[in-house]
């Protein structure tokens, strides 16, 4: 499971948690998150996220 961070506002999408509020089940891989989904905090597009390196 990986994490992806919004480059604008630092919100982190955690694949393990998903985003159930909007039907994105826990365990949903970043690649499977719909292309039109955007950052819940600042509205930035999926393309504005980067992989979090541990």
């Amino acid at each position: 499971m990986k994490k992806w961070r919004c480059l604008v506002c630092d919100y982190v999408y955690d694949e393990a948690l998903g985003w159930p509020d909007e039907g994105i089940a826990p365990g949903t891989k970043w690649a499977d998150v719909p292309a039109g989904w955007s950052c819940p905090d600042c509205g930035a597009s999926k393309g504005d996220f980067e992989l979090v390196e541990d």
Binding site: V8, S38, C39, G43, A44, S45, G47
Partner: protein, 387 residues
Amino acid sequence: MTIASLPTPTAWTDNKRYLWPLGALVMFLPLAGTIGYQLTGWTISLWLGFFILYGLIPMADRLLGEDDANPPDAAMESLAKDSYYRWALFISVPVYLGMWAYMVWFAVSQTLPWYGWLGVVLSLGVGCGLAINIGHELGHQTSPLERFLAKLTLAPGFYGHFYVEHNRGHHTRVATPEDPASSRFGESFYEFLPRCVYGSFKSAWEIEKKRLTREGKSVWHWSNDNLQSWAMTALLWGAMIAWLGWIALPVLIIAAVYGGSLLEVVNYLEHYGLMRQKRADGGYERCQPHHSWNSNHVVTNVLLYHLQRHSDHHANPTRSYQTLRNFEDVPRLPSGYAAMILLAYLPPLWFRLMDPKVVEHHGGDMRKANIKPAIREQVIARYAQPA
């Protein structure tokens, strides 16, 4: 959302490609004004930067009109990767820094009447204001070089906190009552300016404090982006004072205050009265294209690096300037940002022109608008539709 696309998208060329360096070239204008003064002796020439901002640019927007060029999807990737655009932006940074140092020197070393001195300082301030917009564009990019240049560009105008507050503050709270940088219906520019400046400084400090605490560091740690930016300002201002004496300080301060006010007057235009609605769980809906005011006049588009295509900017904040697109069905200002600045300075005119637009945008249901708290109930009642 409709995007005008050409029949053969692969053949698309950017008709503004060779105009983008104008953003760097305008930084020479305050300097050109001082040369004009030395050649002719006309004090008015020292006000060149000022006249161009308030006179020439709004007029040129009116004459040359709107900008119908929109890159189609197929052209986006190559346009984004074309390093020409990076350099066209970078070049403005040394030009600005050189102009800034020269103008400060000129203001303190020449014997000028007070109204000549003021022209020099305010023309320099116009440069500082434009530079914050360049810092804005650089600060949204992700490479360390661009992020360093963003802080450097904000430093002469003492606006480094903007680097922190804009991305992580404004972009998350945009078009909500909690955002210091989103103006409210019924709020004049003169009420907005102190609220925005104070709120933005405070927000920038808290954002970095929160980040550093999370990382187990003190807010005074050297990696605090606010402290880094302010240290650059201290270094640059200190160098100018060491060179020219304390007499340079009023020049530095007045140009910075005026330059900052130019950035904030543009902030004032961008989201006036618009508001994201609250969801059932108490959070705000996402920022969408109808939460920003847009313009698309070609001259201001070039000089502000497409800042006016503001809905696209909030939807795709790290998208670089050359790839921002104009949308048809978004809130639209009656003129370019440059002309709207003049209107914002005159609140009765601003309210007369913009308030009906905000009311129309919300279909008369002003409960959905971001309104100055003191008049909120009154405004909602005034425009409520009879049931």
